[in-house]
Symmetry: none
Subunit: 326 residues, 2 copies
């Protein structure tokens, strides 16, 4: 059920049976307000209420039926009840509304919500990157490895914009651009980039807090503990940023403990190409996807739970368990 996308199966197999800390990176970007107005179901409260639900099975910050949450949130919660994570911790990387949680560790980095990329996201990229580095250098994981997942409405758009602004020619690798208004947002964002902008100036204009922070976080961890980046092309775009930072600094990074995972849904989606993104950087990593053949076509939108799915499988959860839930 776990398939290798790049590299070798051994890395993920070495984590079988071990407890992981689930880190949920959460942020809003005002880009989502604009993108949402064209009919996208993006909701700025999604990171907040999804994380509340995953942690407790209840929603605190909004009066809605949990059934309205994504399949991804439900599946992650289900897996946490069947094969519990060692702990769940939250990274507040610029939220409109903080999750109403008192017993779960919420790392607050005092990062403001980023602005609409059409007008320049106005992110202090250097400062956020340094916060990520510091967090990575000081973080003491109480479990044996980290699963890093994320929730940021309009994230695929900011990931694509970031990649193109960093002069990767890989627009087709991302799937955010199906609607004309989104296409327009992309053009406006890129039009703000000047020839003279350095790497961090570019990120400040077109990226988002999660990508910038996590680039620092990964570099700060410096391969000291296994970490599984769980998500879609937004998470993969993190590798593209790290690649540019390493080039800028003339550095190299050990990546034997760094891997990415996603779902078959993403891998087989002809509107993007996550494998291309993973293979673009100079460094190589192992990557995997969950091959959930038993799930039928109505089970979309579970990519956000790819880390949880792999964790469940590595801890004995069967296809039947997962199918039954869905």
């Amino acid at each position: 059920m776990i398939q290798t996308l790049t590299g070798d199966i051994e890395f993920i197999e070495s984590l079988r049976g071990k407890k992981a800390t689930l880190l949920l990176a959460l942020s809003n970007t005002k880009t989502a307000n604009i993108q949402a107005s064209e009919g996208s179901s993006q909701n700025q409260l999604t990171p907040t209420i999804s994380s509340e639900f995953i942690c407790t099975g209840q929603i605190k910050s909004m009066d809605i039926d949990p059934q309205e949450l994504s399949n991804s949130a439900h599946l992650t919660r289900y897996i946490h009840t069947k094969t519990p994570f060692g702990r769940i911790e939250l990274l507040d990387l610029g939220l409109e509304t903080k999750p109403k949680l008192n017993y779960f560790t919420l790392h607050d980095f005092e990062i403001p919500i980023s602005q609409n990329i059409a007008k320049g996201a106005n992110i202090d990229a250097q400062a956020i990157f340094e916060k990520g580095i510091n967090f990575g250098q000081s973080y003491q994981c109480k479990d044996e490895y980290i699963i890093l997942a994320e929730s940021i409405p309009s994230g695929i758009l900011t990931a694509m914009t970031t990649s193109l602004a960093l002069r990767y020619k890989n627009k087709e690798d991302f799937s955010a651009c199906s609607e004309s208004k989104t296409e327009n947002l992309l053009k406006l964002a890129l039009s703000n980039i000047n020839e003279k902008d350095d790497l961090f100036a570019i990120l400040s204009k077109v990226s988002d807090n999660i990508l910038i922070f996590n680039a620092g976080f990964i570099l700060g961890l410096n391969n000291s503990i296994p970490i599984l980046l769980a998500g879609d092309t937004h998470m993969a775009a993190l590798l593209l940023i790290i690649n540019r930072i390493l080039k800028l600094m003339g550095g190299v990074m050990e990546t034997s403990n760094l891997a990415l995972c996603t779902t078959k849904e993403v891998v087989e989606d002809s509107n993007n190409n996550i494998k291309n993104i993973v293979e673009t950087p100079l460094f190589k990593i192992n990557s995997y996807y969950v091959d959930y053949d038993l799930l039928d076509s109505e089970c979309q939108d579970i990519t956000g739970s790819s880390g949880a799915l792999i964790y469940g499988i590595l801890n004995g959860l069967t296809k039947e368990d997962i199918s039954q839930k869905i």
Copy 2:
């Protein structure tokens, strides 16, 4: 399957997936010899042999078929085999017969068995309370939280007597008083209390070693680690004692890491009201009960395993697993 009785679900959810130390507080009181003679099934060896069985699956100190042990002991043992505790440790708070265990940590506090409350229990309450304080201050938990369970024949009677002697007007909150001999024991016990008796003098006459020690233990821990008090109205009465001690000392106690759990059996028993007891003190705590709807009516007497049940659920045990065992 875990329901909130008071407070919020988040505390217990934050323990999901984490290992706990099960502390078994064990004691006898000679009150049980009197209560037993009227046909109660109280057995002074119950704490000893139940703890032997929970730890090892065998009984050492008595020649009986394990089938004769309570459902509670069997269920706790079952859960320890399916989703094992990090460790089990025993607190000898005055046992006639020490458990025959060499590899399990047995904390021996050299506390004598308390006497029959009808004649005055003759407990050195101050000394036992201080032993509890010292233990709480020095205890190094090797797991992420503590589940405190207990076994003391006639415990509900001593809990009720203690509560009434401490001038709570809540006799109906306890269920020990259905028989006339028990009612008589209660009256005799209360008749020993004088106007001039201070808190510890009262406890010395009508209480039991476990209630007094654990009041000190909880205060000694001072909210430093999550602790789940598992049991019935006897365990809840601990809160009433702590409440009086805090009043006497003019102190307050942080309780964010203190919670209580019981079973649906206790919550729905119209002969007592554990929720009232939990809500009586000035301090507030989270409390929970296990809602084991799938278990049929012959499955009484599992309240002693409420901590184990919650632990099992928090570590992936399903209703089906539990029902199957019972």
